[in-house]
Amino acid sequence: MEVVLAIAIGVLTSSGVWLVLRPRTFQLVIGLSLLSYAVNLFVFSIGGLAIDKEPILIEGVTPNLDNYTDPVPQALVLTAIVIGFAMTALLLVVTLASRGITGTDHVDGAEP
């Protein structure tokens, strides 16, 4: 499971970085989205992967990380996802405005 997740994060990150370095705003937006998916998966996985374990305390079960999964990364990733959505929406607005005003979808606002 760890290997699959690691490969997924790696593929997402590398495609994200490649797209961010491309010259068109659409590629930039998709690249940043992929990058934020990779980061979210990474944040989610830092507490260690666990199957069939809950983050919420159950009566009578010793509260330690052998019986539960770490709740903090889940809280973190939730916040990060929300912020990532907001920033992507904002970036979309700015790139649309740039397309409308400059007449090109190059990130520099002018064809090279």
């Binding site: 930039l28 940043l32 980061v39 990474f42 944040v43 903090v72 990364p73 916040t79 990060a80 920033m87």
Partner: protein, 554 residues
């Protein structure tokens, strides 16, 4: 009088810490609900909030200077679990600087710039909220959240007034900052994965133990965090987004942005002193910070030399100041850090004043005889390519100088000397303190090359800044014959003069201010004071409960 004030501060104390975050948040909420035509009301609300904010941060500075760091548990959870806000001398000083800049920029914006777009006062309050939170929080993930708040507000402020150059600069500004935030998150996650904590004080305590497991992962996480903060602090080679963005921003927004790079510097100073001042990881990354800081300052010096407009030169001035601060942190000398913290305040104030001044000068150069209501960035305000400085020269002898030109000229001269760092202005005093620390370092033996590079870059940057700013000054004020005298409103002159007056006051009060800066640096280096204050923060038991939350098993 002071007794009464300190009494009030003591009573309000742990709760006063959260006030600089809550106050602008509430104000922004009210402002967004108010209709757009209620602009005067919004401005009055913003001014009141900013004034109260300045008073609160002043009270915090005085309170922590006397009584040491104080912690506020936001959700009343014990320390490693919940989010804590903590204020020490460094945070309190940065807060005061931020709110003063906020007040000056808002006053300037109230003259005419607030009309060119919607929600200007609300965005301003959100910017202040994000900045205050970033300076106050003692939790690295909460730091990320406040960073995003201040960045979101800064995206809005950068786009304020729209226009092609602002939108073009915004695309790059937003993209770079979103990438930086991703790097920041990866760094936080790595650090949490290794140490199991997000609280800065707890993190420092765990990292200063005898041995640290998975040390290479801590190094990797810290390096990622440093990259994120260096992007925010506009360190070379990740700073090419800054100058076009700040030059394009509306002047009040640009004046506020003068403190944004300092947030990056602040977090570096805070985290590096907490994580790597002692213990097995001591000194990690210091050489990297030193080299990148010097490179940033030097290249920004040449950038300033290559630009012609005051706003562009002020942007490069912001980068010079950030580079100098990062390099001073990299020397690992508490005395150099103290000098750097002293230098931080007037250099930020001077850059902000220069951004405001640039607007008045631009309007004057464009030949405006009245203050038009809604200014937009025109093509003529772009940095032109080659300028022949001698063509328009005309003799000035025997002509009366209008008061507004005298005012602008005096303000410009003071700004230029402040940015270049000349005596007796406070930026010079800060640089002198840093140079003395560097020379002391060389005299102790060992780090001679470090000291020489540091001193050389600081002096060369001062020279480059002086040459660039003098040239612009001559072209603007001495060879501008035949133009109408500039029209300056009181609301425009007042913030510029107030910012420069504060720098003057800092020269007069250099003794106490330098003592505060050096005490701050010493306590940052010692770090026990901060760690103890955060870890010892006690939970308030809920009313009617027989036992406090401290009994939660750890």
């Amino acid at each position: 009088m002071t007794g009464a004030v300190s009494g009030v501060v003591r009573t309000a104390m742990p709760h006063l810490i959260v006030a600089p975050v809550l106050l602008p948040m509430l104000c922004a909420g009210v402002m967004i609900v108010l209709a757009e035509h209620r602009r005067p009301l919004k401005l009055v609300l913003g001014a009141t909030s900013t004034l109260v904010g300045i008073l609160i941060s002043l009270a915090l500075v005085l309170g922590v200077d006397r009584g040491g760091p104080v912690t506020y548990l936001v959700s009343n959870w014990p320390v490693p679990f919940g989010i804590a806000l903590a204020v020490d001398r460094l945070s309190a000083t940065m807060l005061l600087l931020t709110w003063i800049l906020g007040g000056a920029a808002l006053l300037y914006g109230s003259a005419r710039w607030h009309r060119v777009g919607v929600h200007f006062p609300a965005l301003f309050q959100l910017q202040l909220m994000g900045l205050s939170g970033a300076f106050l929080t003692a939790d690295i993930f909460n730091l990320f959240v406040f960073f995003e708040i201040l960045l979101a507000a800064s995206y809005g402020l950068l786009l304020h007034g729209a226009g092609e150059s602002r939108v073009r600069a915004s695309v790059r500004y937003v993209a770079v900052n979103v990438v930086a935030s991703s790097v920041f998150l990866i760094g936080i996650a790595t650090i949490y994965g290794v140490t199991g904590t997000l609280n800065m004080a707890e993190l420092a305590a765990r990292l200063s133990g005898a041995s640290v497991a998975n040390r290479h992962l801590v190094d990797a996480g810290a390096t990622l965090l440093a990259v994120a903060f260096l992007i925010k602090a506009a360190a070379w080679p990740l700073n090419f987004w800054l100058a076009p963005a700040y030059r394009a921003a509306s002047p009040p927004a640009a004046a506020m942005f003068a403190v944004l790079t300092k947030v990056g510097v602040y977090t570096l100073v805070r985290l590096w002193n907490l994580m790597f001042a002692g213990g097995p990881l001591a000194g990690f990354g210091a050489d990297g910070l030193f080299v990148f800081g010097l490179g940033t300052a030097l290249l920004a010096g040449f950038g300033m030399l290559a630009s012609h407009r005051i706003a562009a030169q002020a942007s490069w001035g912001v980068i010079i100041s950030a580079g100098t601060l990062v390099a001073a942190l990299g020397t690992r000398e508490p005395e150099a850090l103290g000098g750097a913290l002293f230098y931080l305040v007037p250099s930020t104030l001077a850059s902000a004043a220069a951004f405001l001044l640039a607007d008045v000068v631009d309007r004057w150069e464009a030949g405006a005889t009245v203050v038009e209501e809604a200014p937009f960035l025109t093509a003529s305000l772009e940095d032109e390519g080659e300028v022949n400085l001698d063509d328009e020269a005309a003799p000035l002898v025997g002509r009366p100088i209008p008061a507004s030109i005298a005012l602008l000229g005096f303000a410009y001269m003071t700004c230029a000397l402040l940015i270049a760092g000349f005596p007796p202005l406070p930026t010079f005093l800060g640089k002198a303190a840093m140079l003395r620390a560097a020379i002391g370092l060389a005299a102790d033996g060992g780090a001679g090359l470090h000291a020489a590079a540091f001193a050389g870059v600081i002096l060369v940057c001062g020279l480059l800044g002086l040459v660039a700013l003098t040239r612009t000054g001559i072209r603007t004020f001495w060879s501008g014959g035949g133009r109408h005298p500039p029209v300056v409103r009181a609301a425009e002159a007042l913030p510029v003069l107030a910012l420069l007056g504060l720098c003057g006051a800092l020269t007069l009060a250099a003794g106490p201010a330098m003592r505060l800066a050096q005490t701050t640096a010493a306590s940052l280096r010692d770090r026990q004071e901060y760690i103890e204050a955060v870890r010892r923060a006690s939970v308030t038991p809920p009313p009617g409960s027989p036992r406090g939350l401290e009994d939660v098993p750890r």
